[in-house]
Amino acid sequence: MKKLLKKLCLAFGPTGLEHRVESLIEGEILKSMPSDAEIIRDNLGGIYLHIKNEGAPKLMLNAHMDEVGFMVTTVAENGQIKFGSVGGINPLILGAKRVIFENGVRGVILSKPIHLLSHEEREKCPKISDMLVDIGARSKEEALSLVSIGDYFTFDSDFVEMGGSQIKAKALDDRHGCCAMLSTIASLAKNNARSKYDLYFAFTTREEIGFSSAGCATEIIKPDYAIVIESKAVLDLPEISEDRCVGRLGDGALISYADGGAIMDRALTDELISVCKENNIKYQINRAVSGGNDSAPIQIGAHGTRVALISAPSRYIHSGACVVDYCDLEEICKALYAFVTRG
C-alpha cells in the first residue's frame, strides 16, 4: 500500500486538473474489480466504482483526488512569474520552496534576503500576491515559451519515510483517502468478500476550493449512507493544549462527530466507532470543531445523506511537507474493510 500511496502523492493533480490521479486510480480499480461491478464517470472528472448488491442500502465511500496548488496569473518583464493559490495556503510555508509545472518545468518561489528586510517586513506575514516564481527565464517572452498564463504548478516535494512510522509528502490530503479506498477494494477482491451494502467508491474532484464534486456524486448515486475519508489538520505540537490540538498522530483513525462544515450522523458515527471497538482498531475522537470537507455537500446532497467522517490526523496539510503516521492510515483501512464486510 505504501508504494501505491507514494505514486498517488507524487501524481500531479491540483484542483481542476485531476485526470492524472484519476487514470492512476482507474488502473488500480481494474486490477481488482469484480466482474459484475461497474465504473461510473461524472461530468466533473470524478470516477466511481459500483460493487452491486441490488436492493440493499446504498453506502458511498468518498475521497477527493485533488490537491492544493498554484496557477500562473501574470509574467513580469524579467521573466519571473506571479501566481495565485488554488485552495487555502498559508503564505508562511511558501518562501524558498521548489515547485513543478504540469510540463515538468521547475522553479523556486523567491524570497527577499533577510539582510534587506525592514523590521516591519520581518514581523509581517508575506502576501502571495507579492511572491514570484523564478524558472530561470531571462525575459517575459522566454518565460511564456516555457509556461503559459493559466498553467498549474504544485509543490516539488519527495515522498519521504521519516522517524518511526511517519510519512512526509505533498498531497497526502487526500490521496491517503484515495489509497484507503483502493486498498479496501483490493481487500474485498482478495478475500472474495461480500458487503451487505450496495457499495459505491466515489473518487471526486474540486474539494480544495469549496465547490466540490462530491455533492454531484451524491446526486448521481443517491446513497443512504456515506463515509468520507479525509485528512484532518491537527496541531499536536509541544505546548499546544489538548482542546486545540484536534487529534494526535499515532493515536489511530480520527473520527469526528462534528467539524466546521457538518454535524455528522450520530447513529452512523457510533456504528463506525463500535466496529472499531469490536475489531481492536485504534481510533480517537476529534477534539475540536474545525475545518470542513466533503461531508458537508454529501450531507445535503440529493435527498440528504447520513454521513460519517473518518480522517488521518495530519500535520502541516496544504504544504509541500504534510506529515502523517502510516499506522493511522492502516487503522483507517482496517476500519473501512470491517465496516463494509460486517454481517
Partner: protein
C-alpha cells in the same frame, strides 16, 4: 558545464553549518587535492589550499571564500519527537515552515519544520512566527530521539541542487559554495608557469557568525594581495538597484571604503583592457563580508572584493547562474597571471 554542476552540487551537499565545518574536511580535501600542492588546516576550522607558482619567491595572492552556511542548533527536545532550535546565522522565520532539514545527531536524521495550516490558523494571526514557535518534527518518540539527538547538535537545510533554465541552479548553501566552486575552478584551470603569484585559497570558517575565520587565516598567510569572494544580492523584485547585481551578467567587483581602492581600480582597468565583462557594485562603507576583517588584519592587507549574484539568500533555495561562477574564475585567473607591479 556538467562537470561544474556536479562539483557545485557536491560542495553544496557537504555539511557545513557555521562552527561545524570540520564535518566535511575529508570530503573537501578529496575533492580539491588534485588541483593543489599543499593543504593545511588550522585550529579554527579554516582550510588552506596552496598552489605554487613555477617562479621562486612569488608573492602571495590569497583568494578567500567562506565554507560555512547558515543553519540551526538544537536547544530542546520535546515529547512527540519535536526539537526546538535556535538560528546559526541570519534566518528569516517567514520561510522556515515546511522546510526539510537534516539533524546531525549521533547519526543523521530527517526532519520537517512545523507550520500551521489555514484550517487552524484562523483570522488575525498573520504575523511572522518567532523562532521558539517553530519546531522540527522528527517522527520519533522522545526516548528514541534522546538516543540520537542532543542539545547542541546542528541542523542543516536538506535541499539538493536542481537546475533551472539558462544555467541557473537552486540549492542550499550556494552562499558561499558558489564562490568556493569558482576558486577551485580557478586553481584547476591555472598553469603554474603562468602564475605570477603563489595561490593561497582559503576556505574560511564561521563567516555567517562573526566573520572571524578569514582574518585568522590571513594573519597566518600575510598575503601581498587578498581577494575576498562572496555572494551578493541579485536584482530581484523588491531589491534596490544600488544593493544588487544582475544574475547571469557576470561576477561583480565591489567598490567600498573597506576595499583597497587603487587595487580595485587596477583590476577593473586590466579587465577592461582584456575585454572581460564584470558588474560594479558600490558599498560606500562596510561590505559585511570577510573583506572588512581581512583588510585590517595584522599589518593590514590590500584587499579587493568580488561577488556572485544570488537570489533568496540564506534560504534552502538560493539561486545562482553557473555563467557567473565561470566569470569569476576567469577574472581571478587573469589577476593571478598579472605581475604584482601592475596591480599595486
Amino acid at each position: 558545464m556538467n562537470e561544474l554542476t556536479n562539483m557545485l552540487s557536491e560542495l553544496c551537499a557537504f555539511p557545513s553549518v557555521s562552527g561545524r565545518e570540520r564535518a566535511s574536511r575529508e570530503g573537501i580535501i578529496a575533492l580539491a587535492s588534485p588541483y593543489f600542492d599543499e593543504i593545511r588546516e588550522d585550529s579554527f576550522g579554516n582550510l588552506l589550499l596552496i598552489k605554487k607558482s613555477a617562479r621562486e619567491n612569488a608573492p602571495k595572492l590569497m583568494l578567500d571564500a567562506h565554507f560555512d552556511e547558515v543553519g540551526m542548533m538544537v536547544s530542546e527536545l520535546h515529547e512527540g519527537g519535536f526539537l526546538s532550535v535556535c538560528a546559526i546565522g541570519g534566518l528569516d522565520t517567514r520561510v522556515l515552515s515546511a522546510t526539510e532539514v537534516t539533524i546531525y545527531g549521533k547519526r543523521e536524521i530527517y526532519g520537517v519544520v512545523s507550520s500551521v495550516p489555514p484550517h487552524i490558523i484562523g483570522r488575525g494571526s498573520a504575523s511572522a512566527p518567532k523562532m521558539n514557535e517553530l519546531y522540527i518534527d522528527t517522527g520519533y518518540d522522545l526516548d528514541t530521539l534522546k538516543e540520537i539527538v542532543s542539545v547542541g547538535d546542528v541542523v542543516e537545510f536538506k535541499a539538493g541542487l536542481i537546475t533551472l533554465e539558462n544555467n541557473r541552479v537552486v540549492s542550499k548553501s550556494l552562499d558561499d559554495k558558489a564562490c568556493v566552486c569558482a576558486l577551485i575552478t580557478t586553481a584547476m584551470l591555472c598553469e603554474a608557469d603562468k602564475l605570477t603569484f603563489d595561490l593561497y585559497v582559503t576556505l574560511s570558517a564561521q563567516e555567517e557568525t562573526g566573520k572571524n575565520g578569514a582574518r585568522l587565516v590571513a594573519y597566518e598567510i600575510e598575503p601581498d594581495i587578498a581577494i575576498i569572494t562572496d555572494v551578493n544580492f541579485a536584482r530581484d523584485e523588491g531589491v534596490e538597484e544600488t544593493d544588487s547585481i544582475e544574475i547571469g551578467k557576470g561576477a561583480g567587483i565591489d567598490i567600498s571604503s573597506f576595499t583597497n581602492i587603487p587595487l580595485t581600480r587596477k583590476i577593473m582597468q586590466i579587465l577592461d583592457r582584456a575585454k572581460i565583462p564584470y558588474q560594479k557594485i558600490c558599498e560606500p562603507s562596510r561590505t559585511s563580508t570577510n573583506n572588512d576583517g581581512v583588510s585590517i588584519c595584522g599589518k593590514g592587507v590590500r584587499t579587493a572584493l568580488m561577488s556572485i549574484p544570488l537570489s533568496s539568500m540564506h534560504t534552502p533555495s538560493e539561486v545562482v547562474c553557473l555563467d557567473d561562477i565561470i566569470s569569476m574564475s576567469r577574472i581571478l585567473l587573469e589577476i593571478a597571471y598579472t605581475p604584482i607591479e601592475e596591480l599595486l
